[in-house]
Symmetry: C2
Subunit: 109 residues, 2 copies
């Protein structure tokens, strides 16, 4: 049924607390991106604000998508000191968040 690509995507949906200023949010997003050159297993980083129109976002306002070559690479990232330091700064600014990892697969119809 499926054909997997050789990457694992790490997706974080987040809603920042209302009191976090826009400038601080931008600083945090730069801090997230700055993990790529620090964490060898982290191969890429993209982010975006939610622009959906269906009103099914459940309050989430930001998407953060990072790319790894394996689930082991994500485990290395999670325990990497640079990530731990960033997470300790970042997570308290969030009202809510959800994290999923998946191996993007296509479907052979």
């Amino acid at each position: 049924m499926e054909e997997s690509t050789h990457v694992v995507k790490h997706i974080l949906l987040a809603k920042f607390k209302d009191e976090i200023p826009q400038q601080r949010i931008e600083q945090l997003i730069r801090g997230y991106a700055a993990l790529v050159p620090l964490v060898p297993s982290m191969k890429g980083f993209h982010w975006g604000r939610d622009v959906s129109i269906e009103n099914l976002h459940r309050g989430f306002t930001h998407v953060f998508e990072s790319t790894f070559e394996s689930t082991e690479g994500i485990a290395e990232y999670v325990s990497h000191p640079a990530h731990v330091e960033f997470a300790n700064e970042f997570l308290p600014t969030l009202e809510k968040f959800v994290v999923v990892d998946y191996k993007p697969a296509t479907v052979n119809l």
Copy 2:
């Protein structure tokens, strides 16, 4: 700060109801993928099971990621009869889901 790519990602995180059999889930995933050749604005489809280890998935078990060239393309998709028909079949099988759209941007460090 940022550089946007020229795509919009449509991300659906889902948890199927416990009573939905695996075979039915696979059939629905094939049905989701089968929208690509039916909906002109839908440029790609990937999916995967959650394989995260941080236990921050909030119960979501599947990720569905489709690609569009614009938010207008997503609006066309949302109202396309093939999507409407599929959604009417798919959504009732879900215990919970969240949908976000975003334009993946990189950060110039």
